[in-house]
């Protein structure tokens, strides 16, 4: 007698949902966020966005234009003498497509004015001075236009510590800070950010020819998957069992673990029972 044949159904052993994003929902969510945090909570209608020509600031500009109306958004391009022409041109493309205000502030004189006294400053120090100078400009422009600087840092670079402390992370609100870089790319395509901006290699453009992935030593496609698993609570062995190389896993975890301090406010010596944010606890919108 023949044995009855039963259908065998195979399901994937592991489903990675950490990076999945419904871009339409994310757009709606982040527009609500901008309106609530700016207009409802703070009574501010104008946004000041540093437009670098990269995908992060492009996405934030598109979102701000949709949330607040382009007439209430100021796109600020801040080239330095060594910045690439392509970045400047791509920034202009974003500003043109979204019809936000176009402001250009060249930071070369301000940066060089300080570095004149520090001729031996390393490339890293020079890059940090540029990043912090850009924040000086954005905050000053926010006073000029009665607006709020809006952050453009993504979750990947925040986790990897790939940003200048008290510079890129300074704006009081950030719509994309909980989106991994690969999710920002996905959202950018959904929002209609030009392909040439989405598809080009990500760069901080602080040094000529620099790219994020070369600096980090790993692609965002790989590091984001590792980061997502790590945040879900999986350990090194789990990730290696999923096919990631031990070197990649170690690299990502080392970067995260070495930069927790960058994701916090300055450490204050607690000497009382009323120390701010230790004992005296009030939420940011209280």
């Amino acid at each position: 007698m023949k044995a009855a044949v039963l259908p065998i159904v195979h399901a994937p052993a592991v489903v990675d949902r950490g990076l999945q994003l419904d871009a339409a929902l994310a757009e709606r969510w982040l527009i609500n966020f901008l309106r609530d945090e700016m207009i409802v909570r703070r009574g501010i209608r104008n946004a000041i966005v540093g437009v670098s020509g990269g995908v992060d600031s492009a996405v934030v500009t598109y979102l701000c234009a949709k949330a607040l109306g382009p007439e209430n958004v100021y796109g600020v391009r801040m080239p330095y003498s060594t910045s690439s022409d392509e970045s400047f041109r791509h920034g202009g493309l974003v500003i043109g497509n979204t019809r936000v205000h176009d402001i250009v502030v060249n930071i070369s004189d301000a940066v060089d004015g300080y570095l004149h006294y520090e001729p031996d400053a390393s490339q890293t120090r020079r890059g940090n001075v540029m990043a912090r100078q850009r924040m000086i400009v954005l905050f000053d422009q926010s006073a000029k236009y009665d607006g709020l600087p809006v952050g453009t840092g993504n979750k990947s670079e925040r986790l990897l510590g790939y940003f200048t402390w008290h510079a890129d992370d300074s704006p009081p609100i950030n719509p994309i800070g909980d989106l991994f870089k690969t999710q920002v790319w996905q959202l950018a395509r959904h929002l209609g950010v030009p392909k040439e901006i989405v598809d080009k290699p990500a760069t901080a453009d602080l040094i000529r020819g620099q790219t994020d992935e070369e600096d980090l030593g790993i692609t965002y496609a790989r590091s984001d998957r590792i980061l997502a698993l790590m945040l879900m609570g999986y350990g090194e062995e789990d990730m290696i069992a999923r096919g990631f190389s031990p070197a990649d896993v170690a690299l990502v975890m080392r970067k995260v673990n070495a930069t927790h301090w960058k994701r916090h406010l300055p450490t204050t010596a607690v000497v009382s029972t009323t120390a701010i944010n230790e004992f005296y606890l009030r939420p940011v919108d209280y």
């Binding site: 419904d22 969510w29 966020f33 609530d36 909570r41 005296y280 009030r282 919108d285 209280y286």
Partner: protein, 351 residues
């Protein structure tokens, strides 16, 4: 060892207590048989309808006066609604202050009596001094002699305003973005009580994520469970936030299992980057979604329910009755375990 006979007695006495409750609203702790099992509840009471309004809005953070004004505006809007004024108006968790208040809770917390007085004043101003009575449920931070709770009050507003019940949240989340137990104390009881509009119970947000809490409310005879909530949205993988889907699933299963109406009212708006998902909804006792608001934006959703559906649902799927049949054994099982724990400790110590 003394506590054991007492507990058993409470279980046996429960049907008597239910009869008392049916007559006039005693607040009991006993287990109440489902209404359909009690002949005294048959007839017009079973066919009673309740017109509900579930309100979702974003309170102004820490501004209690302003939030009472918002409640007054809701009453005024409902007064002019074509459907007429509802029997019961449900507001979300922490409606008078916003949810994330941290150490500011002591500054925004109110005594329940004070909330009643101010709700009553709001109703008078919005609906006129001689308005018909209606019931209201409001989530707020409660100050009870310096002890702070995350509470929800059930009151009847009208000629003689009265508090029917104050539920204090039992399950205080302390994971992820939550840190409630750092700032407020735990409630201790889950009660059902009689209102003008059926026998009801209240659970606040995470309370209702524990199926045992809904079970207790149903065992105590609740026909309608009210859930004021504040659920921060997270998980944008699919077309709606994951927590909206989770709440709908929780409510559908709980409502169908116990044959109970579940009315949920959620905060909306962003607080410090965390966006609450309203999706205020009414789930019928067959696990049937009757109405649901969008997850974002202020809204009032309204619907009318018939309490008779509770009886019909419980007859069609007698899971609650079956649970009651087995409850004595289940309870005894837990009691036995509980009693054995201290004795083990004792014997360890004596050695």
């Amino acid at each position: 060892m003394k506590s054991r006979p007492k507990k058993r007695k409470a279980l046996r006495r429960a049907p008597t207590r239910q009869t008392k409750a049916g007559r006039g609203g005693a607040r009991t702790l006993g287990i109440i048989p489902r209404p359909s099992g009690d002949g005294s509840r048959r007839g017009s009471a079973q066919r009673q309808t309740v017109n509900l309004a579930l309100v979702q809005f974003a309170p102004s953070k820490g501004r209690v006066d302003l939030n009472f004004e918002r409640i007054e505006q809701v009453f005024a809007a409902l007064r002019h609604d074509k459907e007429g004024f509802p029997s019961v108006v449900v507001f979300p968790e922490a409606s008078l202050s916003g949810y994330f208040v941290e150490g500011g809770i002591a500054e925004v917390a109110l005594k329940a009596g004070n909330v009643l007085k101010r709700l009553s004043n709001a109703a008078h101003r919005a609906c006129g001094p001689n308005h018909a009575s209606f019931d209201v449920i409001v989530g707020f931070y409660e100050d009870d002699g310096g002890k702070l709770y995350n509470s929800a009050l059930y009151a009847t507003l009208g000629e003689r305003p009265v508090i029917r019940h104050v539920h204090r949240k039992l399950f205080l989340p302390t994971y992820g973005v939550f840190d409630e137990e750092r700032f407020v104390s735990r409630g201790r009881t889950i009660e059902a009580f009689d209102s003008q509009h059926g026998r009801v119970a209240i659970l606040i947000c995470e309370d209702a994520c524990h199926s045992v809490a809904v079970t207790i409310a149903a065992l105590r005879g609740a026909q309608i469970l009210y859930i004021p909530s504040a659920s921060p949205g997270r998980g944008l993988e699919d077309a709606e936030p994951a927590n909206v889907r989770m709440w709908r699933d929780i409510m559908r299963v709980a409502a169908a299992e116990h044959g109970i109406f579940i009315a949920y009212a959620g905060l909306v708006g962003f607080e410090g980057g965390k966006g609450f998902t309203g999706a205020s909804r009414l789930m019928g006792p067959f696990g049937d979604l009757r109405i649901e608001a969008p997850f974002d934006g202020a809204a009032i959703v309204r619907t009318t329910i018939s309490l008779q559906d509770v009886n019909i649902a419980r007859a069609a799927l007698p899971a609650l009755g079956d649970l009651e049949s087995n409850l004595a054994e289940i309870t005894a099982m837990f009691e036995k375990e509980a009693l054995s724990r201290p004795s083990r400790t004792k014997s360890t110590i004596s050695k």
